[in-house]
Symmetry: C2
Subunit: 462 residues, 2 copies
Amino acid sequence: MTSFLYFDHLNQVYKMPKVVIIGYGSAGMTAAGYSRITDRKSQIIVFEKRPYAIYHPCSLPDVLSGYIKGWDAVKEDAPRVPNMKVLTSTLVEEIDPDNKKVIARNLKTGEKIIESYDKLILANGAKPAIPRVIKIEDSSNVFTFKVVEDGIEIEKAATKYKKGIIVGGSAIGIETAHALRIRGIDVTLIEYFPQLMPGKMDKDLADRVSNLLKEEGVNVVLGEGVTLIEGPEGKKLVHTNNSTFEAGFVVMATGVKPDTTLAEQVGLELGETRGIKVDESMRTSNPDIFAAGDNAEVTDIVTGRKTLSPFASTAIMMGRVAGINAVGGDESLEGVTNVWIINLGKLKFGAVGITENMAKKLGLNVFQVTVSTQEKLAIYPDASSITIRLLVHKASHRILGGQVIGDGDVAEKLNILSILIERKATVEELSRIETAYTPSICEVIHPLHTAADAAIRRLRRR
Amino acid sequence: MTSFLYFDHLNQVYKMPKVVIIGYGSAGMTAAGYSRITDRKSQIIVFEKRPYAIYHPCSLPDVLSGYIKGWDAVKEDAPRVPNMKVLTSTLVEEIDPDNKKVIARNLKTGEKIIESYDKLILANGAKPAIPRVIKIEDSSNVFTFKVVEDGIEIEKAATKYKKGIIVGGSAIGIETAHALRIRGIDVTLIEYFPQLMPGKMDKDLADRVSNLLKEEGVNVVLGEGVTLIEGPEGKKLVHTNNSTFEAGFVVMATGVKPDTTLAEQVGLELGETRGIKVDESMRTSNPDIFAAGDNAEVTDIVTGRKTLSPFASTAIMMGRVAGINAVGGDESLEGVTNVWIINLGKLKFGAVGITENMAKKLGLNVFQVTVSTQEKLAIYPDASSITIRLLVHKASHRILGGQVIGDGDVAEKLNILSILIERKATVEELSRIETAYTPSICEVIHPLHTAADAAIRRLRRR
């Protein structure tokens, strides 16, 4: 074990606080960075089981499509930062919370590594989840799509068999179907619910996405539950409650669940979401252990309830808070809006806050307005249009959610809504936002103004 | 004079409140729309001196460049709205505030029109301003660029003489220079101050704009004041304090000033900015007269002082408030952030709030941070980068201003800053915004996070 000592300008010796971070994904990387920035004297050690330090999981479909050239492009070395070590190919096998030690193993040499910590951050993310109702009799050429190696395998199978089935119509399923079509692969996408992005987007808007995929040549199968996957590589059979599909390979895009193996081994409390329970400072039930990212639960700022938020965008927010607090800083995360976006080129879409269905489940009295408007005047050759749906709380006029779809700047609309939802803003406040205008970018009446006005008119009619 | 009566559902007869609006630009058009929405029974009459109801002034450079095809494309008829009349080619010559009447003239027939009003909205905008120090001995082929007719004249001269001079390096001057270069015209742009966008942007960032114009082939002349313009059409001589330039035509882009002729005739109070003085409800010193748009002054939300805000984006905010209140609604405008953007294709740039120079003039203790960062990972073929500068108040940590320049989504950054500045947010609040992530659109660490972090680190070092 290495010992880190620090000499200050008076030549006094300190033992530097040591932060150990498990996992170097979005949460772990951000935690490490903010620990470093917050306390320059702290020592940071990261254990990452992957053979490479950094990769960009959300860019994997863009490599699969060929938009980014080569799988190595999405890998990166850890930044060289003083007093920070990122140990790759190193799997943490055990945590000893009583002696504040982490026991890991170098996956290449088999060497055992014992490292003490002052504060520990669990940032080891989520793992693919396959519903139990799906029986996989033969798992050859059945892939999940989470790391670079998965992508390489999928590409190999796609190149060989030209025909694939994707199970699951959420973000990864949609992006993978789109990517494989760009490569000319024959793709069937099967979703259990009668719409894509179930729970995340209203059906009518999600249908615009499935229509685009169909136009691109994807065979979109909605409302059929996969029951059995069988057959050897190259001749996979996917049975649903209704029919049978055949292809050379299968990608399981059926979601992820928090990886809580280590947390449970240490006896950390889990929440009702089955994510690690943390407070606003990202502290777990053990005050020396923080958790951040896909393995931890977080407060939904709209509902006030705990939720899983498996987005890189919220992982970095959680990682930031954990990293700052692990070295004695004081930061907190009240909650998240869960804003997300998917870019299919011709169509970008996303949502923020909650949906009407969720609001109704919570017994909230809400209404929705939907506006479809020009983002840019039709006289421009690259004119774009956008559809915005707002979910509004009747009594308070607060914006509880938003869905945006179009070929223009969808991210901007979602981000503005995210900021306003986080600040508990009303539709009247949205109607007063001041935005920059030049006609080659955006209309002078901002699409969000149009949406806010529609909501205000509706409130007035009641 | 027409008389408007309204029968309600009990068959009672009301006289409908009559709103007269002078000017159908951004402010007038928005005022008319919101009067209509707010009170469906009100009668709205708009007087517009142009022969066409609507045009898009900010799109004129895009027609000049050829990006939009044909000058007619930027003209539009007024929308057909019940109980609203837009009289074009109609110049208001006099207002009789005692009898609440407007006296106008049909510019085509010469006919005199007298119209009574319950509430009057002055939305007749600004007029080009040419500094007195510039002596124009021969005004042939010396143009301003405000309406469609100006554009047609400039295009004619550019086609004939292939060589032009633009006086003034703010928005219109820059956009016109850029547009004429796209048409292959030999362009010299002369600016009195040693930088483009003086007062609106810091010199080092403005220099990136002038470098782009130079790369495009514009002869950018900074720090030279034009003193005399002489010579006949086709052989114009523009003398500065330092040299003489020769071209076929000249565009004067030296700014605008509020058109207060009618306001002064009625005896309305003007502010120290020489714009019409209005309160937060856009009411002038005469309670039955509102003013909105470039002719009125407005509060700068950052300084709390009155300012002129000659942007369509703020004109619509003022017009909205005037339109709502003119029919008895209750809306107010606390102030504006003055967010603006210019799109030169390869480079987009803009600012919001105040600059460091202005802060220092006001005696505010501030600092600036500047970050240049990837907006999109370099592995993407359309990777973009962005520079963000924040102006921060030391004691309160409040964001007082922002400048953004880059080839990516500059508008989004400015709009988010505008919303946060309007809400008096701190850099810590900026560091906590939650934004949607997909790598083909924007990095997971949002460039505004990077900027906020830089500011927070600076505050910590003090």
